[in-house]
Amino acid sequence: MLRYLKRNPSLAVGIFLLAILVVFIAVGMLLTDPEDARPLSVPALRRPSWAFPFGTDRQGRDLFAAMVVGTPLTLRIGFIAGILGVTIGTILAFVAGFYRGAVDTIIRGIADIGLTVPGLLILIIIAVSVRGGLTVNQMALVVASLAWLNPTRTIRSQVLTLRERGYVEVARLSGMNGPEIIFFEMIPNLLPYLGATLVNAVSAAILASIGLEVLGLGPLEAPTLGMTLYWVNFNAAIINGWWWWWTAPIAIVLLVFLGLFFMTVGLDEIANPRLRRSV
């Protein structure tokens, strides 16, 4: 495995960054009491110190505890929505790309139109309509409702190219039916591509969820990364000079996105070796 990573630096960097995140959360779980992430549990607006490594915010939350509790929540939203999105996307992509016909035109039409519409606005309309704000799991489902659009479109184009390959027709002549051809002949060749699409979907889902939260449409009581940034903006932390309030969430969000980005680039290189030639 290590030898493999050496040949693919981007993937290695990506995994390394996410590993840092996991270590941070694990260590954090041990060191701090998750209850401190709730408002009014610690003195407000303290600068980072030994007692409060990331400082405290205006509502009396220990930002270190908030990050340790909040980050897994944001990641959970991203992974649930991402995995749901790619699973639905893959199924639709294969149904459309392999079986073609009317269903293909419909699915392709919906995906193409869906992608020209800004996702955040649709999510806003949904979130605003739900009484009393969303819980973390509801947020994941809301984001997942649009997360399947991009995977459907990209995986479908891959299925179309694979479908014309000679070995698919040979498989048909060897007695394999549709689903068997998809699982045993097509998917194995698509794995690196599916991996890249999944990481992309997770990254897009996290971005969407943070977007909603910064607009104040997230789970108000949960200290997720997005909600923390909402309170930063709400309390104009930057103008008031409370720099520690926003540096922690931004550093973690950067870590998440950079990690996922390098993983996508790495997986893309496996799926499309020609890209590696000139980097």
Partner: protein
């Protein structure tokens, strides 16, 4: 054949308009009752000097979307109003209508978004093309990695960082708003400069992120194009390096890049909304944020509809221009 292609693309645009109106109508009603009604009734009990106007609105709203009316009639009325751009009054800014508010905010967003997208697309595509070219200057190698890394982070995040560095610490640029408070909006030099100063940080946070994305996309396309037979033959024809680079490689690699632009508009806009929110930039995004905070459903639906239609129209224009870029398109079924 070309007219048929344009007609088909326009049909897709009309579909998007209908879709936008339908989403605005059905999504809020998914959770059983009509949030707009509850908001209006709550507003009516508040009282206050705008009392009379709110009651008219409630009466008119019930008349159009009352419980006695069947859903499909309400839907038809709603789509009728929406396509005539009549989004009713803004609940939180009564008596101003949603249409006026949007009309005021839209130019700001078009200015910010239009310029930054075109700029980052042009620079990104150019950088990406150069980077894939073996003859590219050495220093290019070192410009790209930071742009790539920047591409991974959301616009507004970079916005926050830039705001802290340049506005708060160095006080080089204004920290908030579209123009200095108190400045009278007029087309004179000082006001324009003031606007540019305020728009610099939001624009920078979009351009620095988007450029890397376009560069990455273009480089991939160039790598594929440079392997094509017609590039090898162009070389055998003894064409100048610049001719091969521009008229054979870039000219072909730009096609999928333009399609990517059409598809990315939605995502760019979503990001720009958040940039406007954190910079208080008086565009559609900030207006939307204020509408969400005030739970002003008419304003929210008005903005969502307008933006979707505007993007749908932009995509339509790009689709219509595409055959001019790629002569093969108008002949095949796209």
């Amino acid at each position: 054949m070309r007219l048929l292609y344009i007609a088909r693309r326009f049909a897709v645009f009309l579909l998007i308009v209908w879709l936008a109106a339908s989403l605005n109508f059905f999504l809020p009603r998914l959770s059983g009752q009509d949030p707009v009604r509850t908001k209006l009734l709550a507003e009516a009990q508040l009282g206050g000097y705008v009392q009379a106007g709110i009651e008219d609105m409630v009466k008119e709203y019930n008349q159009k979307f009352g419980l006695d009316k069947p859903l499909w009639r309400q839907y038809l009325t709603y789509v009728g109003d929406t396509t005539r751009l009549d989004f009713n009054y803004s609940i939180s800014n009564y008596p101003r209508t949603v249409r006026d508010l949007i009309a005021e905010a839209l130019p700001w967003t078009i200015g910010l978004l239009g310029l930054t997208t075109l700029f980052s697309f042009a620079i990104g595509t150019f950088l990406g093309a150069l980077l894939a070219w073996p003859g590219a200057p050495r220093w290019m190698r070192y410009v790209m990695p930071p742009l790539w890394a920047l591409h991974a982070i959301p616009f507004f995040l970079l916005g926050l960082i830039l705001m802290y560095l340049f506005a708060f610490q160095l006080r080089l640029l204004p920290i908030f708003g579209g123009y200095s408070p108190g400045a009278a909006p007029a087309f004179n030099i000082s006001f324009v400069l003031d606007v540019i100063a305020h728009a610099t940080l939001p624009a920078l946070s979009i351009v620095l992120v988007a450029t890397g994305g376009w560069a990455l996309g273009m480089r991939g396309m160039m790598v594929t194009t440079m392997g094509e037979d017609y590039v090898t033959f162009a070389e055998a024809k003894g064409l100048k390096v610049s001719t091969i680079f521009l008229r054979y490689c870039v000219r072909n690699a730009i096609l999928p890049q333009t399609t990517a632009l059409a598809l990315a508009l939605g995502q760019i806009l979503s990001g720009a909304v958040l940039v406007e929110v954190i910079f208080g930039y008086p565009g559609i995004g900030a207006l939307l944020f204020q509408a969400i905070r005030e739970n002003d459903h008419f304003l929210i639906q008005g903005i969502v509809f307008t933006v979707i239609v505007a993007l749908g129209f932009t995509t339509f224009i790009l689709d219509v221009l595409y055959p001019w870029l790629d002569p093969r398109i108008s002949y095949q079924r796209s």
